[in-house]
């Protein structure tokens, strides 16, 4: 990844905050609906100094992190196994790949009620939504990586008597690692979204950030709503950066930088 100079995004950040103040002032002064778009400093105040709210924000954040991590782990295991299976034979790929595409094109929201009826309105259903949303990039990137092996390298293994399993372990999977990490990074960002979306539909059990957003919003608590939304967005960014960094730690030494 290319280094981005820090000052350019900083200027944009300043502009966004200024615009936010302008809109907040407009809601406050002209429409007298200050809670719809609260001033940035009120949001900060709510998140940092209101002890009770802060406590709740952290608890819900933790729950969202747990759901994101669980969903991502399951999506990684299922996605990689699916891709490995497809890489073993052309006919398997032809038979199974369409379903990976379909999985991605199903409007998740359309089947959410069904998931609720079958798996209940708690943890399990939220994890299922998270897995469904983040699965496709794991499948497609792993498959792409496994197939990226050079033909001559493949033949080198064949000439020296390597079987399927050895070739997978010593050639295909290592060669696929950079692509797998790209998939992981994308899937992780989507998993955060999945965890928040899951919250909005399945509100029983320990609540996550999605629940907090809805509850704050319905109570017309503008600063609380914004604080929860920003926390959720930051979680997405942190997770994306984390997996980018992990990818570079594992494959950066040998992989072509992209």
């Amino acid at each position: 990844m290319k280094r981005i100079p820090w000052w350019q995004p900083t200027i944009v950040f300043g502009l966004v905050v200024a615009l936010w103040y302008a809109i907040a002032a407009w809601y406050d002064k002209s429409k007298e609906l200050a809670f719809v778009v609260p001033y940035p400093h009120l949001v900060l105040q709510e998140a940092l100094t209101d002890g009770q709210f802060r406590q709740q924000l952290l608890e819900n954040l933790l729950q969202t992190v747990v759901i994101t991590a669980t969903g991502l782990l399951i999506a990684t295991v299922i996605g990689m196994s699916w891709a490995v299976l497809m890489s073993q034979a052309r006919w398997l790929e032809h038979s199974l790949y369409p379903y990976a595409v379909i999985l991605q094109t199903i409007p998740i929201l359309a089947i959410v009620p069904l998931i609720g009826t079958i798996f209940g309105y708690e943890f399990t259903s939220r994890v299922i939504v998270t897995v469904m949303i983040s699965l496709f990039p794991m499948v497609s990137n792993t498959l792409f990586g496994l197939a990226s092996v050079d033909r001559a390298q493949w033949e080198l293994f064949r000439l020296n008597g390597a079987g399927r399993f050895t070739t997978l372990l010593k050639l295909q999977l290592p060669a696929a690692l950079p692509a797998i990490f790209v998939g992981l990074r994308t899937a992780a960002g989507l998993a955060v979204i999945g965890a928040i979306v899951g919250d909005q539909f399945f509100q029983r059990g320990t609540p996550g950030l999605g629940v907090l957003i809805q509850v704050s919003n319905s109570r017309l608590n503008g600063p609380g709503t914004f604080a929860a939304i920003i926390t959720a967005s930051l979680l997405g960014v942190v997770v994306f950066l984390l997996f980018g960094l992990l990818g570079r730690l594992v494959t950066g030494k040998w992989a072509d930088q992209s």
């Binding site: 064949r158 020296n160 050639l171």
Partner: protein, 247 residues
Amino acid sequence: MTADTSVLLDFRDVSMRFGDTEALTGVDLTVSRGEFVSVVGPSGCGKSTLLRIASGLEQVSGGTASTASQRIGYVFQDATLLAWRSVRRNVELLAELHHVPRAERAARAAAAIDLVGLTGFEKHLPRQLSGGMRMRTSLARSLTLDPELFLFDEPFGALDEITRERLNDELLKLFVQQNFAGLFITHSVAEAVYLSTRVLVMSGRPGTIVAGFDVPFDMPRDPDIRFTPEFAALVGQISHALREGHR
């Protein structure tokens, strides 16, 4: 001299087709112990196919191809190193695939790395090496299996002239020391003459062998033979045959 000159590779009337493409036809070829045979020919005439058949990667469509040894080394045009493995671990790869015990593997790799002059670079990753060093690593990797028959598919084609000449000299040295038989594909007639005991010329597709030349220079070879009139005359003759076969 009573050197063993048994036949290691024997092609009889070999033909090969891929669908509608006739790649090879009527190829007769033998490579015996102590021989280094080069094949020159226009691109697309089936030179790689010849090696792929010899190695067992491809089955003939007609005729017979037999090898008397299981210990076959194959050096591809590209070094085909595993990017995530160090030089040492790359060189160990083939022994590893053949289930050679760890200690033995390490010893063979160290010896092979020494033979190709890469001692001190064991911990380097392929991306840290020059093209010539990568090709040396690839050679070392094959040497760990102590091949009796060594197949080379234009291994130095992508290298610059100076690196190529240096690797030619080292390959000659290895040929004399290690006693393998070689079958070497190249685009360069001069390289073929310099390295080989025999040079074969192939025609355009469908490829077949149209001429053969014994190279009279003794082994080990003095690099300066390249500048002798005899060398130039032989290169000229072979180039001429190559042009004839092209038509």
